[in-house]
């Protein structure tokens, strides 16, 4: 009880009320430092295969010999189809599948994201497992064109050869579906949507042949032309749309088989040379986080992950001595492992950060980092709420118990002389009497309607760019982006000047504080919830928003307000996107077009986070700071 009383007495202590910004700062610093510690050996773990049934690399692979001759022939066939129209290509591929005694079918799909037209065809064939009862299936994918737009000659040829080879085995306990998708992102998406019957029937054909529940998918990206190309490493891509990841067991199995059985090095996140040093691990992790945070489809496998189908893409990189047969044997061994699965992949992690092909951090270790960032906003929000309930925002309440004169009293006696003596109230308790400053006894009413409406309005306002960016035809998108580059940073200033100039709408300083409190409270809540779904996005947005926890409404301090405004303008979402594109050398128009495609085709919701979490928080912060300029 005594402790509680002490704590309650501390409530009014001005030192406590000065604490939150420092606390927020400490949280942000610890949060970022936490992330930087993760690549160390003490905080990360070696990967391991958790599902016993997988038994990676325990089987002999027989994909050699005359299969190589057949592979070369199929590669010539594929190369001959490269310039042919889509219909003819589909027919030729279907014929090859049918000649293997497989059931083959094609699927047409058309997407029209923001006025563009994506039309293509998927070809797929089902190998009915001799001992399977059509309840489970695995998928082997080769997109006709890979993510860079190159024709996937060797990948498609390998799928055709493996289909012929797999057909001869009697040990498959699951059906195997061979899918040659028209492209790397929309094609697999159309196929997997139709497989689960969640496609729009007007634009996408239904699948005439289906099999059981998909248990896993492996995509091959090997664009070597008809004369082949020996590769050095396998680049394994594992992240799906919206930052969802495939089960770590699948990744580990692939690495285990490629590394241990075939002697092919594995790499991830475009780290072509990885020396397993701290810097390399950190760089891999940050690249992984960036890719996860953006939530875009990174390969043909990405579309499968939202349907809880674990999927990875094997991409060949570099010049080395591994040939298509090594890749084929890797895929064979991988399918033999997946064929062993008795249950859906569930044993290992779904939330992880990979630092190296053999090292990872699990969610329990990295999650506090984003949570601390989110908490820093919540702390600021609570501090602002408390501050808004105080009677006089400008002068701190003197502590009646304090024996020291307040610093203001010491430093500025002139102000002290002008000030009225502090009003005191006499309080009786039994026989005791005491004098308490009246300010402590008065209750300050908070006017909540205005800040609530303002916060709601700022979130509603975010819907406008969300709609515009996803539905403008691609030719106008760069113009829209440039327009928003000017408008978006200026909007808070315009709003602030407008609010200041029209007296009925002018928020009081308490209302201004409450606006900031509410928007920070929402930001903290959103980010904490988001951290459990897409850690990287929450962390990135949290970092970019971190100044919002410290900017304040400073009436009368024009220079400080202007500095804050400049800082916030630099951290405007549109400015940040533009700067990031410039830094990584990406074409900003392309990024926006892809984002719109993601919204319409892949079900991407990074835009929602940007325009409904980040932008409103930034806007409210900007208005609050801007009020300082116009007060």
């Amino acid at each position: 009880m005594a402790l509680l009383a002490t704590l309650l007495a501390l409530r009014k202590d001005p030192r406590i009320q000065r604490l939150p910004p420092y606390l927020s700062l400490i949280f942000i610093i610890v949060g970022v430092a936490w992330l930087l510690l993760l690549p160390l050996d003490e905080y990360s773990r070696e990967t391991y295969v958790s599902e016993n049934a997988l038994l990676p690399g325990q089987v002999h692979t027989y994909f050699t010999g005359s299969e190589h001759n057949i592979f070369r022939a199929y590669r010539h066939e594929v190369a001959a189809l490269a310039d042919k129209p889509v219909e003819e290509r589909s027919r030729a591929l279907t014929d090859i599948f049918r000649s293997h005694n497989l059931k083959a079918a094609t699927q047409k799909y058309t997407y029209q994201p923001s006025g563009r037209n994506i039309t293509n065809q998927n070809v797929y064939a089902v190998l009915q497992g001799p001992r399977a009862d059509a309840t489970e299936a695995l998928v082997l994918i080769a997109a006709w064109r890979n993510m860079d737009g190159e024709v996937n000659y060797s990948g498609v040829a390998l799928v055709l050869t493996l289909a012929r080879y797999f057909k001869r085995w009697s040990l498959w306990s699951k059906d195997i579906i061979f899918l040659i998708s028209g492209d790397s992102t929309s094609g697999p998406q159309a196929w997997v949507d139709a497989y689960h019957n969640s496609h729009s029937p007007a634009a996408i054909d239904p699948l005439p042949i289906k099999s059981g529940a998909l248990q896993g998918a492996i995509a091959i990206d090997y664009p070597a032309g008809p004369w082949g190309h020996r590769f050095d490493k396998l680049h394994i891509m594992y992240d799906g749309v919206n930052g969802q990841l495939s089960n770590l067991d699948l990744f580990n199995t692939a690495v285990n088989i490629a590394n241990g059985q075939m002697g092919i090095g594995c790499t991830l996140q475009r780290m072509w040379s990885h020396k397993n040093t701290y810097q390399d691990r950190l760089q891999t992790m940050l690249r992984g986080m960036l890719s996860q945070g953006l939530g875009h489809a990174s390969g043909p496998h990405s579309a499968f992950i939202p349907y809880h189908v674990d999927a990875i893409t094997l991409q060949t990189v570099g010049d080395g001595w591994h040939d298509e047969m090594s890749l084929g044997r890797t895929v064979e061994s991988l399918f033999r492992s997946l064929n062993n699965l008795l249950e859906h992949l569930h044993q290992s992690f779904f939330f992880y950060l990979l630092l190296h092909s053999m090292r990872f951090v699990s969610i329990g270790t990295y999650l506090p980092s984003a949570m601390l960032l989110a908490a820093s906003f919540s702390i600021s929000a609570i501090a602002l709420w408390v501050q808004s309930g105080r009677p006089d925002l400008d002068t701190p309440v003197p502590n009646p118990a304090s024996t020291h004169p307040s610093p203001q009293e010491k430093k500025s006696p002139s102000i002290e002389e002008e000030k009225k003596p502090t009003a005191m109230t006499e309080v009786h308790l039994d026989t005791h009497k005491t004098l308490i400053p009246s300010a402590l006894l008065t209750t300050t009413e908070r006017s909540l309607l205005y800040p609530t409406l303002f916060t709601l309005l700022s979130h509603t306002l975010g819907l406008l760019p969300l709609y515009l960016f996803n539905n403008t035809p691609p030719s106008y998108l760069p113009t829209l982006l440039n327009l928003s580059l000017v408008l978006s940073p200026a909007l808070p200033l315009l709003t602030a000047s407008f609010l200041s100039s029209s007296p009925p709408l002018r928020p009081t300083s308490q209302q201004t504080t409450l606006i900031q409190s509410f928007s920070l409270l929402l930001l903290g809540m959103f980010l904490a919830a988001l951290a459990t779904l897409n850690f990287s996005l929450a962390f990135l947005v949290g970092c970019l928003c971190s100044p919002l926890a410290f900017t304040r409404y400073l009436p009368g301090k024009k220079i400080a307000s202007a500095a804050q405004t400049l800082l916030l303008a630099a951290l405007n979402p549109v400015v940040v996107i533009r700067a990031a594109c410039w830094f990584w050398g990406a074409d900003v128009g392309d990024v926006v077009v892809r984002a719109a495609e993601g919204w319409h085709v892949w079900g991407l919701w990074t835009q929602v986070v940007v325009w409904e979490v980040w932008w409103p928080a930034w806007f409210a912060g900007g208005v609050v700071v801007g009020r300082g300029l116009f007060s």
Partner: protein, 581 residues
């Protein structure tokens, strides 16, 4: 193109029954497209009902007969199946679906009883006894997996007192049929797999088949009033992949062939010693009984009744010009029928018999009968909360409408919403569902049972969909492989019109479904246990400490810290050091 031998004819050959005790067996081989081979084994024996009642069994298996008598079962149908019938390539099923089961185990029987409760207890006795007899988990057919179909099944036998008979039906879609089910099956045969066509049935080949089904059908057959017999028909049907089946048992690995053995397409511009576009084989591949079944046929079963001209046991349905070499040291006989597309052989007794078909380029093919319906069923949607089932049933006939009963038996944790049932015909308006029978599920007591009478017009397809909710099971109700999902039994489709040719009926079954239920993380209970134990230990420790410890005020302790006490203490310590611990 040759006209295909109507199966009816073949069925008629075997269907002649008499009320006397006899035994027949027959093997029908039929090459299917894509180098597949259908092998249908049929074993039929009779026992007059009088002898059956007196437990005077001759060919009828005693073990099964006694079970049937004990459980008062008048008619029994049992199916063990694996894989799926590929109707688009293989055409109509060999017995029109009447002897072929859905994936897993399916059992239905007419049980004689006065009340429903009595019938159900006898049904349980039957399933438990059969479970022991066939080494299958048939005892897991409990109330939740048992339904009483109303329209889908009709008795095949002649029964006097239909009012006292109760039809019960149960399925185990996840039961994996294997060798331990085949051994007891063969033991029911008079020749026990030692002679006759049953000597070809080995587990290695049977369970490597692309599709296989084992069936047992027991029914009473009456020629005229009072002249009745109990007939048992055992069948094994399988589709073998010839390429796979021909591999020797000691080297089953399909290694890539040497390049010399692959025929390459020389017309391709890139054809080179290291580049080979494989040609598809057009000739019918060579095979022999010994190669395909892995064992040789040890002559005829001497118990076979060879009166009535039923002695030609092995039949093969091929084009007349297909070359067949018979290899046997004994006497055999060949007969041709059905415009020479059916060749039957009388087996020698006690001598090995083999049929060898060399590789031959065929100019004609066999016409496979089109099945009356194509059915496919799948689960749509994703997520752990709800889903929907879609069954697509296509009527390939360009002239006749098809009327059928669609039977769906769902586990209780899959809760369908009947108001979401949509039956849409792609080419016409109107409701194709004529009659609905629905018995909703009761949690943990019984599953849903849905029967629909549907008509599909000619040359159109029906899409039947309904939504369902997934129940959350109790922690202990999950099987050990909970994350695999739960199997939902195949839907059974019984044809009403065009009228089936015989009493067995025409059936089609869909594949089973895998239903993903919300599954807890099973390590969680252990975390909870560990956490609770820690809290308990802390609380218990503190309270125990407070209760047991005697608190004494500091000033109440007698002060005995004199020189003597100190010395005593030192001495004790020294002693313990010398003596050791």
């Amino acid at each position: 193109m040759l006209s295909f031998l109507p199966l009816l004819l073949f069925n008629a050959l075997i269907a002649c029954t008499a009320a006397r005790s006899d035994y027949h067996e027959r093997l029908l081989l039929r090459p299917l497209p894509q180098s597949a081979l259908l092998a249908s084994f049929t074993f039929r024996s009779n026992e007059s009902s009088g002898a059956f009642e007196e437990q005077n069994f001759r060919y009828f298996p005693r073990s099964l007969g006694q079970i049937l008598q004990h459980a008062h079962t008048k008619e029994l149908h049992l199916r063990f199946s694996l894989g799926r019938w590929d109707a688009s390539n293989w055409g109509q099923m060999p017995w029109n679906g009447a002897r072929e089961g859905g994936t897993g185990v399916e059992l239905w029987a007419w049980v004689e009883a006065g009340t429903e409760e009595e019938a159900f207890s006898r049904w349980l006795a039957l399933t438990n006894a059969l479970s022991g007899l066939f080494c299958a988990s048939l005892n897991f057919i409990d109330a939740t997996k048992t339904i009483r179909p109303v329209m889908s099944f009709q008795p095949e036998g002649d029964h006097h007192n239909m009012s006292r008979l109760h039809l019960l039906h149960g399925t185990l879609p996840h039961e994996v049929v294997c060798t331990e089910n085949l051994t007891p099956f063969l033991k029911l045969l008079p020749c026990k797999g030692k002679a006759g066509i049953s000597s070809l049935l080995s587990g290695h080949k049977l369970f490597d088949a692309s599709w296989q089904t084992m069936s047992i059908d027991v029914r009473p057959v009456c020629q005229k009033e009072g002249d009745c017999a109990v007939e048992i028909e055992q069948g094994v049907d399988m589709v073998l992949d010839l390429e796979r089946a021909k591999r020797p048992l000691d080297n089953p690995i399909p290694r890539p062939l040497p390049i010399e053995e692959i025929s390459c397409d020389g017309s391709k511009p890139y054809n080179a010693p290291d580049t080979c576009y494989p040609l598809t084989r057009t000739a019918d591949s060579s095979w022999s009984l010994n190669e395909v079944f892995g064992t040789s046929l040890h002559g005829a079963c001497p118990l076979t009744d060879d009166r009535d001209g039923n002695s030609h046991t092995v039949c093969i349905n091929v084009q007349p010009e297909r070359e067949i070499q018979v290899k046997t040291a004994g006497e055999y006989d060949e007969s041709r029928s059905a415009s020479e597309t059916l060749r039957c052989y009388k087996l020698p007794v006690g001598e090995a018999f083999d049929l060898v078909l060399p590789e031959q380029q065929m100019t004609t093919g066999l016409v496979l009968p089109t099945p009356p319906l194509y059915a496919a069923r799948s689960i749509n949607g994703h997520g752990q909360e709800r889903g929907s089932v879609q069954a697509v049933i296509r009527n390939p006939s360009t002239t006749d409408a098809v009327e059928f009963i669609y039977l769906e038996s769902l586990p209780w944790f899959m809760k369908p919403y009947l108001h979401t049932l949509r039956a849409v015909i792609d080419k016409s308006e109107g409701n194709p569902v004529k009659e609905t029978y629905y018995r909703p599920a009761v949690d943990r007591r019984r599953g849903s049972h849905l029967e629909l009478r549907v008509v599909i017009p000619a040359d159109s397809s029906l899409s039947l969909t309904y939504d369902f909710d997934k129940a959350i099971l109790r922690y202990t109700e999950y099987p050990p492989d909970a994350n695999r999902g739960f199997d939902a039994a195949p839907a059974v489709i019984r044809l009403l019109s065009p009228r089936p040719p015989d009493r067995k009926g025409v059936y089609t079954r869909t594949t089973s479904l895998l239903l993903q239920l919300p599954t807890p993380d099973f390590s969680m209970p252990y975390n909870v246990i560990i956490l609770t134990s820690t809290v308990m230990a802390l609380a218990f420790g503190n309270i125990f400490n407070l209760l047991v410890r005697r608190f004494v005020g500091a000033d109440e302790v007698p002060s005995r810290r004199g020189l003597r006490t100190i010395l005593q203490g030192k001495l004790e310590r020294f002693k313990s050091l010398v003596k050791g611990p």
